[in-house]
């Protein structure tokens, strides 16, 4: 709690390869509240920082089921209950005709859940974030590869963590003010 003025320590690396190696070693050293930043997705980096709970597929599945059910039930309600009309002598509950709208609604809801679920789980939009206070962090959308150890990590200690990060041979270490 006393280090609340510091958000964490940031180390910058030269390449994706170095970043993923550093992430593995930091995680192995017992730092669990860490994050890595890169200009493009790096395979295995999320696993390296100990991120396994990806709930996006679940959100999409639920969205798709809700979309499909609501699409079908809407058509059933309209065609068989509230506004029954005889179209070409077909039964009111003519389910083959309802398949297309059901399908489209499934895709629509699942797709929107994928987008908004991903943004919500990522906590976006978030215009302000402490990492943006570090001037070098501008390169995170260009060619910079960053690793941050948060000050909330139980093992975090200003001096010792800095020493540990130095051992990973980064290009630069900077303190992230909160």
């Amino acid at each position: 709690m006393s280090e609340s003025s510091v958000y964490g320590l940031m180390a910058e690396f030269d390449s994706a390869q170095e970043l993923i190696a550093a992430a593995h070693r930091t995680h192995d050293a017992g730092y669990y509240k860490i994050d890595a930043f890169s200009p493009f997705p790096i395979e295995g980096l999320a696993e390296a920082i100990g991120f396994h709970k990806n709930r996006v597929p679940f959100v999409v599945l639920v969205g798709g089921i809700i979309g499909g059910l609501s699409g079908y039930l809407l058509q059933y309600y309209v065609a068989a209950i509230t506004y029954p009309t005889n179209i070409g002598g077909r039964p009111y509950h003519s389910w083959p005709s309802f398949m297309i709208v059901t399908f489209e609604m499934t895709i629509l809801f699942a797709g929107l859940s994928a987008v908004f679920g991903m943004l919500a789980l990522n906590g976006l939009p978030m215009p302000y974030h402490p990492v943006f206070n570090v001037p070098e962090f501008k390169k995170a959308s260009e060619n910079g590869f960053f690793l941050v150890v948060f000050s909330t990590d139980p093992k975090y200690d200003d001096a010792r963590t800095r020493e540990f990060l130095k051992g990973l041979a980064p290009r630069l270490i900077s303190e992230v003010p909160s």
């Binding site: 390449s15 994706a16 390869q17 993923i20 190696a21 992430a23 593995h24 070693r25 994050d35 890595a36 930043f37 890169s38 200009p39 493009f40 997705p41 790096i42 395979e43 295995g44 980096l45 999320a46 920082i49 991120f51 990806n54 996006v56 597929p57 999409v60 309209v78 065609a79 506004y83 009309t85 179209i87 070409g88 077909r90 003519s94 005709s97 297309i100 709208v101 399908f103 489209e104 609604m105 895709i107 629509l108 699942a110 797709g111 994928a114 987008v115 679920g117 991903m118 990522n122 976006l124 939009p125 978030m126 215009p127 302000y128 974030h129 990492v131 962090f137 995170a140 959308s141 260009e142």
Partner: protein, 463 residues
């Protein structure tokens, strides 16, 4: 063995990206088109022409709202004229964008990475143009919201057994999903633009659009999952949209429409015309904006191959239509075949065969596939051909009704032509603005193509 045979093949083909690029040069090259490049006189002139065409569309639609659909060439029996022809044509063009962004993503075709962004933009603008037509064709477009199911004081609900309502759902879902797919792809690039922009206002605008994207590994992981799932959802969606459009015809009993070949034949035709539009736009854009490093001959040649393949499926569709006209023994079907070949519109049917089937066969030859000039000409020919196809399907089938007493002819009026060319103006106006305000090639996806972007897990374990 496999690797031995692969090497020479790979050598003969143009690379997906020219060598010598780094993470920085990719960002620089793409974002400078928007951030640094001054607006040229040619751009302003082109924009002026396209914007004028778009205003002609507004004028034509204004007059339409005043007078009604009687100003068009439609009549009884030809109740569906230019509006539906153009609707099907535009929506088909959109399909290539989704094919490139979704289906080629699932198939792990890395060459898609440099053309998907503007192909998706093309999809959005084409679907927007397509959407204009059924709307104004309703006659009273200000009541078009009646097509959506919502509780109302009239106690009225739409008929879900009608393919026209399926169309409403298919097209609006398609537009929405294409829009969010495009936007999701843009988020990391907005962050690059934000960090590269020098003017505080531009930085602010791209900053708002980037929503605070910071490239966290957790974010990238969810992002990639969401993107892959969207690709998986968009794939059946794009196949369904033109299928549903073809149901507008196939569900009816009109000769030439009532066939089971329609859904696959429409989808193939859509991709055919869509790739033609991609080439039509990509060839001038890469030359003007110096993007030859990212949009290489490989992309153009591959698009040519897709056109050739889908064109052959379309040719098969024509063949089956003709065969069934003869084989069914149905007098109305065989009359349709005869009428296409010898009736009043036979010139257009023969032009259709020439533009859609005969001329594109040049793509079998590598010389034509690797020449930007010829590719551009052939893609224009295909665009005309696919428009003629919709004309033939709609007008020739309708103008000879079952009874001779209800035969007629269809002649488009100047209002039809003004609306049609107006939507081309609208499409190109949007395209004109797009190349100047958004990164037209996906920066983050291009970066993943560089060898430095790939980590080697094997070395990891040893450390």
């Amino acid at each position: 063995m496999a690797t031995n045979t692969q090497i020479p093949v790979a050598d003969r083909r143009a690379p997906v990206m020219e060598p010598g690029h780094t993470f920085v040069t990719i960002g620089e090259k793409v974002s400078n088109i928007v951030l640094k490049r001054p607006i040229s006189l040619g751009w302003v002139l082109g924009f002026f022409i396209m914007f004028s065409l778009m205003n002609m569309l507004l004028f034509a639609l204004g007059y339409l709202f005043l007078k009604g659909t009687g100003i068009w060439g439609i009549n009884i029996p030809v109740g569906w004229g230019f509006a539906i022809i153009n609707f099907v044509w535009w929506i088909g063009i959109g399909h290539a964008g989704t094919l490139i962004s979704a289906i080629l993503c699932l198939l792990r075709q890395t060459w898609r990475n440099s053309i998907n962004r503007f192909a998706e933009a093309m999809t959005l603008f084409a679907v927007a143009c397509a959407g204009v037509f059924p709307l104004v064709h309703t006659g009273r477009p200000w009541l078009a919201y009646w097509m959506f199911p919502y509780p109302n004081t009239m106690n009225y609900w739409p008929n879900f057994r009608s393919p026209l309502i399926w169309d409403v759902f298919a097209v609006s879902t398609y537009f929405t999903i294409s829009l969010v797919f495009w936007f999701v792809g843009l988020i990391p690039d907005f962050a690059t633009m934000r960090d590269r922009a020098e003017h505080p206002l531009t930085r602010g605008i791209y900053g708002i659009l980037a929503m605070g994207w910071r490239g966290s590994a957790r974010h990238w992981h969810r992002y990639e999952t969401a993107y892959l799932l969207l690709a998986g959802l968009a794939t059946p969606l794009v196949l369904s949209v033109h299928t549903v459009v073809s149901f507008d015809f196939a569900i009816s009993i009109v000769p030439g429409w009532h066939t089971t070949i329609f859904p696959p034949y429409f989808v193939a035709g859509a991709i055919y015309s869509g790739f033609a539009m991609v080439l039509c736009l990509a060839i001038p854009i890469r030359a003007i904006y110096g993007l030859e490093d990212f949009i290489t001959m490989r992309h153009l040649e591959n698009s040519g191959k897709v056109m050739l393949a889908t064109g052959l499926i379309v040719a098969y569709g024509y063949g089956i239509e003709a065969f069934m006209g003869w084989y069914s023994g149905n007098q109305f079907d065989s009359m349709l075949l005869w009428n296409r070949l010898h009736g009043p519109y036979s010139f257009w049917y023969l032009s259709l065969l020439a533009t859609n089937i005969v001329i594109p066969q040049l793509l079998w030859m590598k010389k034509f596939r690797t020449s930007t000039f010829w590719l551009w000409v052939i893609s224009l020919v295909v665009l005309v051909g696919m428009w003629l196809e919709r004309f033939i399907i709609i007008v020739v089938s309708l103008h000879r009704d079952f009874l001779n007493s209800s035969w007629g002819m269809y002649y488009p009026t100047k209002w039809d032509w003004m609306t049609y060319t107006g939507t081309i103006g609208m499409f190109l106006t949007a395209m004109w603005l797009f190349v100047r305000i958004l990164p037209m090639v996906s920066i983050s996806e291009l970066r993943t193509l560089l060898p430095e972007a790939h980590v080697h897990e094997a070395e990891e374990v040893k450390q």
